[in-house]
Symmetry: C2
Subunit: 405 residues, 2 copies
């Protein structure tokens, strides 16, 4: 007997038939003698439908009110799930974010969990009730409803699992698990049985959209074993856990790509102290996140500065930099949204050398020009022209010995 | 400057255009310098749509979960209203039932309000924010979401008005006010400018569906002046207030009818003490409400007992009484769902005599047979054959001098 937290996403509860399928899956695990807490997302499409309504009223709806609006989606799915489980003869009860004691800060639409008082959930578990928790939502200390950002239900699930000291946290999704590369572009990609929290963090931040990045941070911080698996079959998925000695034997665990960035270059910038701040501060003030930054030296006390921003913020960032360029006397602002970032990730890099040079030579062998480079302890990323993305991923996947045999 | 509570029903907020119209109406009242609290229902059709989903899962969904499900309707309408008001430049904030401090008992789907701690609403009013409150919902002392029954938003509005000691409570609806009879069947019906709480209570319980009956009880108990008026025009509607001397001058204020009851007769019941209890207790145990009861004496120590129940409960009640009849040795159980109740209501009856005989003679003059009679201090009701309903209402309306000139 174990305490298991399961999370099902929107596509898994998209209609009453799918809700019934999930209910049967929950029931099977419960019937094996486990205590069950299940976190649900809104039925697929609901959140976007509600945001669409607000968007028809104004382009800038208040974030507090958006959270009041969109949290109704999970409220509907949890009550329908409980009604379904009860109709099958199971004891079940729905719990909203604030009822679950999920306390967050007041950053509406992207709140962070501060604490979970899972008192009510524990009471229900003690009487063998299956607890169905609304994902994605919490409440701040005033009692206002907050949401945790896109994919926030993952974080709800991991946080509840941490608060309850659950034996495991299963994230059911529409993929089988974490792959060595995106199977849509790399047919030789294979599913990983295990991956470390750190690798998963790098992969999540690089565009592998399986888990919300905060949920992985939470899982790492509270040592919650997370099992990412398919809601459509019974196969084992990928365990996200602390790294172990076996993991280090593999140099690279996966190859990821991200087409969601664009780069901006200011050329012939006067090279003086504080210039980078003058260029990047207005971007930060506009709440645009900068990923990579590169500064090249030119002859004649001049420099070029290049950085990347998310594609949706590209035009706004370009606009800002045109004004900055004028002010600081830079020659030109060049924007390029036809780029992609390919990365190799692996905790094995900590103990193996030569990974970077192997990556660069692999790309060179395919005649792919590297535009920018950035690295972390367990990752090397290269920005390349977007059109080479798939080729680069496949070449790296082969070069690092990841191709399924 | 006054503190005004307004309530808008589902048809008034049925789509974004209608929400905009209501927002403009709220804004006009606010611009006159008033403090504003507005209670909203769900967008029309939403509650039924959600109940339909639950009904597809099981015929007997859990009431606690139903309340979790259907309260999302009001949550959507209040957030959309606030976003609309803000887009027009007004300070507004949405408040859910539990955030408004609306404490109820735990009778899910038909909870009663126990107390309102309107702390949060008062804080918002102090900073001149327009407060948009979710109608129909509250929370019990465990924090579980409850609903107040169909039409419960009326009660939310009156209860909030009482808690805030509001200057007035305006109920906006799809009718102009309270009429002397249903204008659909009596073309000479006219709108009442004023009606007493007691008359309104009798009318509401008799089938005039304008206000939820509990809202009137609340208004009477806390002396909240309620203004029932149209959301589609600016005309004055009907004020529901304490009775005054002027009201007593009018003998009958209105004629109402109710086609939603059926009657059941047990004939040749042995006439002995306790027999009525034996007949009616099983009905009460099945939570079926009995309205009128009549017992006639027959020759030979036998009696007939007749009572009325709501039409939706007719078949169930008939089934119960067939078993009862067998047990107590009654000869026959006769059911009749083709009946209607017509009533005349007026506080003036307290000081005028001859109202009953005038009613009976009016019906007799139209050859309408009276099947059952019941009275209160300010009401006389007759059960007649259903097919005579419209004729009876019009004849009584004329006889009591209510026809519009």
């Amino acid at each position: 007997m174990a305490l298991i937290v399961q999370k099902f996403g929107g596509t898994s509860v998209g209609d009453l038939d799918k809700i019934r399928n999930v209910a049967e899956r929950i029931a099977r695990t419960y019937d094996q003698g486990n205590d069950m807490v299940v976190v649900l997302s809104a039925m697929s499409g609901e959140t976007d439908k509600l945001l669409g309504l607000a968007g028809k009223i104004t382009g800038f709806p208040d974030k507090r009110e958006i959270d009041v609006l969109i949290t109704t989606g999970e409220q509907v799915s949890i009550s329908l799930m409980v009604i379904t489980l009860q109709s099958m003869g199971y004891k079940a009860c729905s719990i909203l974010g604030h009822q679950a004691g999920i306390l967050t800060d007041s950053s509406f639409t992207r709140a962070r969990i501060l604490d979970i008082k899972a008192t009510r959930i524990k009471e229900l578990l003690a009487e063998k009730t299956i607890v169905i928790v609304a994902g994605f939502q919490g409440a701040d200390k005033k009692g206002d409803i907050t949401t945790l950002g896109r994919g926030g239900s993952d974080t709800s699930a991991v946080a509840v699992a941490a608060a309850l000291k659950a034996d495991k946290c299963e994230i059911f999704t529409d993929v089988d698990g974490i792959y060595t590369a995106d199977p849509n572009i790399c047919s030789k990609a294979s599913k990983l049985d295990r991956i470390s929290y750190d690798e998963m963090l790098e992969m999540a931040s690089l565009g592998a959209k399986v888990l919300q990045i905060r949920s992985v941070e939470f899982a790492k911080k509270y040592n919650v074993p997370v099992h990412v698996r398919s809601s459509f079959n019974e196969e084992e998925g990928t365990m996200v856990v602390y790294e172990d000695a076996n993991m280090e034997k593999v140099v690279v665990s996966g190859v990821t790509h991200n087409k969601n960035e664009a780069r901006i270059t200011l050329s012939k910038v006067p090279d003086r102290p504080g210039i980078a701040k003058q260029i990047l501060e207005p971007i930060a003030n506009a709440r645009i996140g900068v990923d990579m930054i590169i500064q090249n030296t030119r002859a004649g006390n001049m420099t070029d500065l290049t950085f990347t921003v998310p594609k949706p913020d590209f035009e706004a960032a370009l606009e800002i930099e045109r004004k900055v360029a004028e002010k600081i006397g830079a020659e030109e602002v060049i924007g390029d949204s036809n780029i992609a970032k390919v990365s190799v990730v692996g905790v094995g890099m900590r103990s193996h050398s030569g990974v970077a040079s192997k990556m660069f030579s692999t790309l060179a062998a395919e005649n792919i020009n590297i535009l920018m480079i950035s690295t972390s302890e367990i990752r090397i990323s290269c920005v390349i022209e977007e059109k080479y993305t798939e080729l680069a991923v496949r070449a790296l996947h082969t070069a690092f010995g990841l191709d399924a045999s």
